[in-house]
Amino acid sequence: MAGHDHDHDHDHHHEHGSELSETQLRVRALETILTEKGYVDPAALDAIIEAYETKIGPRNGAVVVAKAWTDPAYKQALLDDASKAVASLGHMSRVGDHLVAVENTPQRHNMIVCTLCSCYPWEVLGLPPVWYKSAPYRSRAVKDPRGVLADFGIDLPKETEVRVWDSTAETRFLVLPMRPAGTEGWSEERLADLVTRDSMIGAGLAKKPEELAR
């Protein structure tokens, strides 16, 4: 597991300990014992979980983004109070109270880092990619976000500012990606297919219409 290597300003609250549910404690206890005894390899477990990462959690974020693209009033409500706007769609029971939506524009690209413990809103975004939790990724994303994006094949225009948000237990983020060109008149349902998990954490862009057919 990665060490605590935050080397940037953050405002995690340190007066409270973390909490794991009884179920999470049992799962961790089993995994530790089985790993120590050589019955399971944590990397093999990660590989299985990675294979199913798109099958874990409801991934309702794409629906939220597609609605914000088509409904200006909903978009405003989402940017004003994401927890409330997401909950208003009715199918998410445990979004948490402190979800903040940040909007990508030609002037600014938002990226989210720090996905430790309960910080990551997997109820909205699905499971984070395994690499996303790695310490080198987190520290590089803070120091050189443009370089990290370039590694993912995203070259942003020079005039686009890159803003990195550090997700904490208190505040969790959802990136509202830019709506791709050539999608005028599309239904919410069709638009939702363009919204990838990576685009909602700012590690990618929404798919272009021509990428759907591939």
């Binding site: 597991m1 990665a2 060490g3 605590h4 953050h10 995690h12 609250h13 340190h14 409270h16 300990g17 973390s18 909490e19 794991l20 179920t23 999470q24 404690l25 049992r26 799962v27 961790r28 206890a29 089993l30 995994e31 530790t32 014992i33 089985l34 005894k37 019955y39 399971v40 390899d41 990397a43 093999a44 477990l45 590989a47 299985i48 979980i49 294979a51 199913y52 099958k55 874990i56 959690g57 409801p58 720090c114 430790l116 413990c117 309960s118 910080c119 997997w122 499971l127 904490t168 237990a169 208190e170």
Partner: protein
Amino acid sequence: MTSIDTAAAKRAAEAVPSIPCDAEGPVFREPWEAQAFAMALALHARKLFTWPEWAATLSAEIKKAQTAGDPDTGETYYRHWLNTLERLVSEKGVADATTLKRYFDAWDHAADRTPHGAPIELKPEDFS
């Protein structure tokens, strides 16, 4: 490293018919469910049990829970799965209930001393 792929997961889903699936394979409501599923796959690959044996134990756990008033709505499926894991791990002599409890308490202690936002890691002092 034991190699495990989605084909192994598909075979598991066929052998244990009650696993919640969509057209492509198993689906999970929460991350811990996927972890519990992955552990069973790994232990099966290590031949700790066969799938028929797993299915029989799981079915006994589900019956036990139903007798105790489990609503059986499918939402509790992986709770039974986790009970089954603990039971087989204990029956096969990998770790008894006392050991499981010791690690459970240690993780609880580790979570307690870890500030919010930091990764929770198990350290030797968590066992004291």
